[in-house]
Subunit: 255 residues, 2 copies
């Protein structure tokens, strides 16, 4: 990949589909999982929307996020039951028809050969927006779906993990966002000016401040992010000097 | 509350604000927490958006979700540091100015009296959109903020929990969405037609199917939701009869 390509920022949107997340029944694990995986690919997660199993809501979220990002991921709603409508919604968003993918059908026929055989519900999982390719699923047969820069993944986190694994290294990304963490037993409100000034003095660096309460004391982790390793080092040095000048011990790597 | 009011569906939107969620560094716990709490208030969580610490992105999400819902909640970005910009963004979305709330200032002065006293960063946490009231925070002084049907909560989940607790019972909601769960050691793809037909035959009931893999076997929990307890009972009966007719044992309450 050329340096020019590396300096471009690639972004992705994520649509999490499922009433079970909005009802609080299921605690989503896919946001963190997709976010972490994207970082390693050099792609920044720009926005997440969690929407119900309602076609027009999925269509709206998909269209809105795919227009403004390089990549779009969805999780959930690609199973065999009546509430699994992601394929139909994405096809509708793209204005393409839904077809049965012959390879997906073959995969499912093999997978269910000793599990009662294929039926209408299972065949639903071979339906894809016209023009799509499959993303392998080594866990449970039913594949993920790729259509250009759109990726439809499972709702069950460990199945999504396998699909992401299959995609690792295949997406064009920029320089990965690097980060370094400095932990400090200090109330963030005591060093807010130091954080702001340090960030301002280091172009392309971003400092996040994440307070915590532990062992009866307040502390914070400061996360310095940039695509430029040298810039991070310089920013970390300035921050640590500043903390030291205020009589504060700090812990590289975070607390 | 009158029966007429109860039959109306109340909805809420949630905007989760924070680079740390989008980077995967922090696993969000507020979506599930707010969703569960809303259910008990008789309010349905309609959509969640996770956006970065960038004013125009917060403004866009806030305006979009507040227009289509009865209530809007935000989590994150109300602390003392430079990346805490929720108050400014919400004020901008509403077209009001930001003021220092005298009660918030008094609370913070008391809270920090024996912790080094008030300073500019800490005073940031007394800033509110003009017209706002405070939501008590028994954990760490800095209050949450209520402006009509908009609620700005902390990013740290246990602080948000306390703020939600302070709001419990104060928001007008409809009849709470009830649910009953039936677990079954069956591949959901074997009973997809039963689920679809049962849902269709019971107006106002919704059946979610949540598959799992445990002890080397596939199973699923079927969650029947409705605001009408009698409708749920009838729907559950039909579903259990159907599972029984297919020679399947089922577990009321779920597996």
């Amino acid at each position: 990949m050329s340096t020019a390509a590396n300096s471009r920022v690639y972004t992705a949107g994520l649509v999490v589909i499922g009433d079970e997340i909005l009802s609080g029944r299921t605690h989503d694990k896919n946001i963190a999982q997709v976010a972490t995986w994207l970082q390693v690919q050099g792609i920044r997660l720009d926005e997440v929307r969690v929407v119900a199993d309602v076609e027009e809501r999925i269509v709206e979220a998909v269209n809105s996020l795919r227009e403004r990002n390089d990549y779009l991921f969805t999780t959930g709603g690609i199973g065999p039951t009546h509430d699994d409508i992601t394929v139909d919604a994405v096809a509708s968003a793209l204005g393409v028809s839904v077809i049965v993918h012959p390879d997906a059908r073959a995969i499912l026929e093999r997978y269910y050969a000793d599990k009662g055989g294929i039926n209408d519900a299972r065949l639903r999982m071979a339906r894809v927006p016209d023009g799509a390719e499959l993303i392998p699923n080594r866990m449970s047969g039913a594949p993920g779906i790729r259509l250009g820069n759109i990726f439809l993944m499972a709702g069950v986190p460990h199945i999504t993990a396998g699909m992401l694994d299959a995609l690792t290294g295949t997406l064009e990304g920029g320089a990965p966002l690097l980060s370094e963490t400095i932990g400090c037993w200090v109330a963030e409100s005591e060093v807010a000016d130091l954080l702001r000034e340090t960030e301002k003095a280091h172009d392309g660096c971003q400092i996040g401040s994440y307070p915590f309460f532990r062992e009866g004391k307040v502390g914070a982790n400061f996360v310095i992010r940039s695509t430029d390793a040298a810039a991070i080092t310089s920013c970390v040095d300035t921050l640590c000097e500043g903390l030291g000048a205020r009589g504060r011990d700090f812990t590289p790597g975070g607390i």
